[in-house]
Amino acid sequence: MTTTPEPKLLDVRDLKVEFRTRDGIAKAVNGVTYQVAAGQTLAVLGESGSGKSVTAQAVMGILDTPPGFVTGGEIFFQGRDLLTLGREERRKVRGAKMAMIFQDALSSLNPVLSVGAQLGEMYQVHRGLSRKAARGKAVELMERVGIPAAAARVGDFPHQFSGGMRQRIMIAMALALEPELIIADEPTTALDVTVQAQVMDLLAQLQREFHMGLILITHDLGVVADVADTIAVMYAGRIVETAPVHQLYRAPAHPYTRGLLDSIPRLDQKGRTLYAIKGLPPNLTAIPPGCPFNPRCPLAQDVCRTDLPPLYEAGPGRASACHFWKETLGGAR
């Protein structure tokens, strides 16, 4: 990985998370390293089960324990290792310094509290404002995120808002205390494309304004291309490739990334068989030895079945966990 002189806002090093279940130990995150600088957007791309959300939950400190346990690594946030902090200190960081936006706003908001009360709660708990002052702040926030007639709607309940408006409220809640880092976990997956465009625009605009770091977790290659600066592609709990966004789309350095890009239906493939990555993602309780992608990889050789590839530096600012990254970068499929 690259080393930059400026201190990173978030610096996750070799993070490991496992879930201890009745069926065995599921290794969800197996040594993830990434950094986010202020004002920068890191997109974490991966399919279901790749560990992208679990990594974020560990960073936020909202992992369900048990069954989930952080078994290794460090999470430096503004120079402090969050994993060494006590419960209370961790709680002060969460919400005030880093905040999370979830996919499903309807189930993430409390259905029996008005949105005003839920937004205001942030100020009451973290800033000690009175209920009335907090409500005023809530209205301000709702205006910020473009909810029409905010003053009239502050007493409404979550179900009275549309999906797009609810997601705006989630964003408002995350922004309330002006955090330095926002983690957005599939923020627009549940929304329609026209509404998705509105919400992503809002998020990008607020990020610029507050100069926040943003981690965008998604499976959508289109959304990533639109907003990210850097991309980390995850597979079976590992980062298999990181690169600046333009370079990754132009010339991927990992066969999995190439497979994902190739399997998007494109205009010139109309009427032809789509490229498809063969097989299925691995079972996390039995990850294959060597490179976890080797059973599905068109380039796999013997070495891939025995040796786990490290993250090779594959050019300035990019890395690939593939023994054959040079060949992949050169266009081998």
């Binding site: 408006m165 998705q196 289109g222």
Partner: protein, 368 residues
């Protein structure tokens, strides 16, 4: 469990489906196998517990007409709540329409009942969106795929059913040995294959697929799309393919219908809709789709629509899109725009296709 998916594509990039033609030949515009006319479905809204009275209706589908030709794929796109799934349910007879006709080979199937209806239903089968909830967890795969034969025993005599199910499993790329397994033993992509096998069991002519790949991961989605296309060639199927993913619909469809709030906004070939859209809603929808190409970030002329889709219980008068449309004039509130080729576009090449807009025009800032 070892997967044995077959639609893996060739290692050396996408291979042509039809070797001779290179590109799959478009379905020749043959006879219409299905003709939909003024189809409507209103769900009544009631108030009161004892003395229920109807206070209105959710007009989920409100006057939809289209044809489905033999061997083609008609894609229906639209956002949630536009009524596309209700159309699917109406086509396969899971809902009774409030008004309109569904003519299958010239006969209005809404008027049919009993044995005649059953015979028609055999030929129109459905593949559902969610492979997790559309398969009964207590039934084996063999029973799930074989169940249609219980209802239509004339298709397969009792003794031959197991064999037929094995063949179907093989056709959709699953190991026939899996016949006694339960749905939870399969991944999402494999379950969707099971759902497809069930849809194929009765050898239908038409398959209505409602968001068949939206619950699947990208890498698995391509496998299932390839499977659907292969099956279409193999069994001469006609598809109604409903999805919100515009790139998937473009890939698989011969013709595309864009739906908004219970009505069709625009219909045409995939090229007409995607390259020469004339309805403002289609233009906004297409411009909002994130393009998986960061280089396109700056040069896209994105149209950001204001607001949300209005409630189908109280749709706007006139044109349904007018509340979010930047071109709206007084006439849009008064006159419902018909779904016809706008007269100023008749014979005007690819822009000349049905578009329900008073001010239909191609985008001037067309993206390169």
């Amino acid at each position: 469990m070892e997967p044995d998916e077959q639609e893996t594509g060739s290692g050396g990039g996408p291979a042509p489906r039809v070797a001779a033609a290179g590109v799959r030949t478009r379905a020749a515009r043959g006879e219409a196998i299905l003709e939909i006319r003024d189809l409507a479905k209103h769900f009544p809204l009631h108030r009161g517990v004892v003395f229920q009275r109807q206070v209105g209706a959710v007009k989920a589908v409100d006057g939809v007409s289209f044809d489905l030709y033999k061997g083609e794929t008609l894609g229906i796109v639209g956002e949630s709540g536009c009524g596309k799934s209700t159309v699917a349910k109406l086509l396969v007879g899971l809902e009774r329409p409030t008004a309109g006709q569904i003519r299958y080979q010239g006969e209005d199937i809404i008027k049919l009942s009993g044995r005649a209806l059953k015979a028609v239903r055999r030929n129109i089968q459905m593949v559902f969106q969610d492979p997790y909830t559309s398969l009964n967890p207590r039934m084996t795969v063999g029973d799930i795929i074989g169940e249609p034969y219980e209802i239509h025993p004339e298709v397969a005599p009792k003794g031959s059913r197991r064999q037929k199910v094995r063949e179907l499993l093989d056709v959709v790329g699953l190991n026939p040995e899996y016949i006694n397994r339960y749905p939870h033993q399969f991944s999402g992509g494999q379950r969707q294959r099971i759902g497809i096998a069930r849809g194929l069991a009765l050898r239908p002519e038409i398959i209505v697929a409602d968001e068949p790949v939206s619950a699947l991961d990208v890498s698995v989605q391509a496998q299932v799309i390839n499977l659907l296309e292969r099956l279409q060639d193999e069994f001469d199927l006609s598809y109604v393919f409903i999805a919100h993913d515009l790139s998937v619909v473009r890939h698989i469809s011969d013709r595309v219908a864009v739906m908004y709030l219970g009505r069709l906004a625009e219909t045409g070939t995939d090229e007409q809709i995607y390259e020469h859209p004339t309805h403002p809603y289609t233009q906004a929808l297409l411009s909002a789709v994130p393009v998986p190409d960061p280089a396109a970030r700056e040069r896209r002329g994105r149209i950001l629509l204001a607001g949300d889709v209005p409630s189908p219980a109280d749709p706007p008068s006139g044109c349904r899109f007018r509340t979010r449309c930047w071109k709206a004039q007084d006439v849009c509130a008064e006159v419902v725009p018909p779904l016809d080729v706008p007269e100023w576009f008749v014979g005007a090449g690819p822009a000349g296709h049905p578009s329900a807009c008073h001010f239909a025009e191609e985008r001037s800032d067309a993206q390169e």
